[in-house]
Amino acid sequence: MIRFGLSRIGIITEGIDSWSEAAAVLRGETPYRDGELAALKPAMLKPNERRRTTRTIKLALQVTETVLQDYPDRQDLLSVFSSSEGDLDIIDQICQALCLPDRPVSPTQFHNSVHNAPAGYWSIGSASQAASCSLAALDGGFSAGLIEAASQVFSEQRPVLLVCYDQLPPPLMQSVIPIRTPFAVALLLTPEQDSQPCLAHLQLRLDAQGEPDRLANQALERLRLSAPAARSLTLLEAVASELPSQHRCLNYLPGLNLHLTITR
């Protein structure tokens, strides 16, 4: 059983761009209304880099900036980036270019096509030489990211940044990629013994038993199912409720679930 602290949450999706907004919605204090995604303008990118990067990279970086606002020791943070599909706009454009005579693949797009591109821009933007992991796990992407980040907190006894993000597919891929809402969530995880205040303490274990929990509110349940990163809402709802102790089950892998105990 791995135990760790959850000290900060950042979230960006249609109609929500802060943890305080999300918490009020998840507690049922305000109804969930989708709407426009906030403008993506991560400050850590220089203007020329902002032009050359994509909406996927910007979404991942912006949620990172949200969660780390005024955080002092960015350079020392270990980081985990999890995305179900990576940057589908770039893959779409490269695959289109490969169908043309002379195959004019853009060099900038090619170097941005790596799954760890947001992690690379984060490391440059924050001047952090700390280790960083980039991963993918289809529908279980949030669970896989949380487990990887928790294993880092546990074994390194250092704070770890988890960023989980999914962007809409380009038109050609919409019929085959089940992402219907852009969604990004960032968590700052801390060692259990850390003296900093935290939003919740978590315990994590894997079990083949159990069924992933659903959200009672239908609009929020639709949102939860609209992107792999949005499966995080199961955990965020429990944190927002501020009850003393709760248990939640999240999908992870075929035949294996993630079980979380969330305490205040």
Binding site: M1, I91, V114, A117, Q129, A136, L253, L256
Partner: protein, 395 residues
């Protein structure tokens, strides 16, 4: 509670040198390159590639049809060598299927399937039989290996470009240390595709000749494909075995596709690996370089190696044998490091005729025999994710 050192109880490799680790060792020892002029269907680039023959004629069994693509065919072919499946079966009997983790690195996974779907699209619709979740997706080879091995423990699909299948060793150590599993299958699979061939070509990083790491005339990489795996377990004290002794991971924080000119990120990864292994630089007997043979990669790694090692250990890049297998480079060179430890032998940097006078590392132009205790292997990727691994032979 540290898990290191971890015992490497079984390992295997399939690439352009052949199927299984004995083909690899034989080719390394005879100085035989697996590179050939590029003959991949539909590619009109003048370059050389490290291709695994016959993948086109090895469809997956019907039960796994949804996963069928070049990358997963290579994944299965790799699993079938060196008695690896039997070793995993024995581990399942020891630990149980829920206590063995799967950690797989890949850079482009089955993207070739998406390239074909785009080529064959009609009226702006992709073909109906296109199943990207089980082919193109970065998680596909990891989920496929877990399925093919009949495991139900944790699984992690890592994609940090060309360090992907080196970082799987670090993740496996953390999961074992955290109690998430008792043993781990680590590995990497990457296969030839148009995206990487034309992508590296767009960056002017593809060589028109067999690649020549550290040579003054080097002008780029050759792309290869590979699948390799290792079975990691906790190491009982006093047992003679191959071991993972240490690892280090860092980020360059410099540029997306150009490494830090002074090798700062590479140096940080190597230093951390030494620290986690409890070794000093002078205790490293051989370095298997990342050594891609681009001008800037080799220059950066050379700076890092020369800054760290005062005793100039023998170094070589094995990319001239296999090509750069990208997301599978980490496991490829981990396996080479293990073969070298067992054989007491180090390969030359194939095709390197003379060391670039501007570079300083002790590059082997001929193979060399020597008892080896500790070998360091480097893997660095686009995006600046670096990983160094240290392997040893405990007696």
């Amino acid at each position: 509670m540290p898990a290191l050192p971890l015992k490497i109880s079984h390992y295997t490799l399939t690439n352009a040198l052949g199927q299984g680790k004995s083909s690899a060792l034989q080719a390394l020892q005879s100085g035989h390159s697996g590179l050939r002029p590029c003959d991949l269907e539909g590619v009109d680039l003048e370059t050389w590639i490290g291709r695994v023959p016959e993948l086109e004629n090895l469809p997956l069994p019907d039960a796994w049809q949804a996963y069928d693509c070049r990358n997963n065919r290579l994944a299965l072919l790799g699993l079938q060598q060196d008695g690896f499946l039997q070793a995993v079966d024995a581990a399942k009997a020891r630990y149980g299927v829920e206590r063995i983790g799967v950690f797989i690195g890949s850079s482009t996974s089955g993207i070739a399937t998406t390239e074909i779907a785009y080529r064959d699209r009609q009226d702006d619709r992709l073909p109906a039989d296109f199943t990207p979740a089980t082919t193109h997706n970065i998680a596909s080879p990891c989920h496929f290996v877990r399925l093919a091995l009949g495991l139900n423990g944790p699984a992690l699909a890592i994609s940090t470009a060309c360090s992907s299948s080196a970082t799987v060793f670090a993740a496996a150590d953390r999961y074992i240390r955290s109690g998430l599993c008792d043993a781990a299958i680590v590995g990497g699979i990457d296969s030839l595709c148009l995206t990487t061939l034309y992508g590296f070509n767009s960056l002017d990083l593809i060589s028109d000749r067999p690649c020549r790491p550290w040579d003054g005339s080097r002008n780029g990489i050759n792309i290869g494909e590979a699948a390799g795996y290792a079975l990691l377990e906790k190491s009982p004290e006093g047992e003679s075995s191959l071991q993972l002794l240490g690892f280090g991971e860092s980020s360059d924080a410099y540029h997306m596709s150009t490494p830090h000119p002074q090798g700062d990120g590479a140096l940080a990864a190597m230093n951390q690996a030494l620290q986690s292994a409890g070794l000093t630089p002078s205790q490293i007997d051989y370095v298997n370089l990342h050594g891609t043979a681009t001008r800037s990669n080799d220059a950066s790694e050379d700076r890092a190696v020369c800054r760290l090692f005062e005793h100039c250990p023998p170094c070589s890049s094995t990319k001239g044998f296999t090509g750069h297998t990208l997301g599978a480079a980490g496991i490829t060179e981990a396996v080479f490091s293990l073969l070298c430890l067992e054989a007491g032998w180090m390969p030359q940097s194939l095709q390197t005729e003379s060391r670039d006078p501007e570079l300083g590392a002790n590059i082997l132009l001929q193979p060399q025999s020597a008892p080896l205790r500790h070998v360091l292997s480097n893997s660095f990727g686009f995006g600046g994710n670096n990983c160094s691994l240290i392997f040893g032979l405990a007696k």
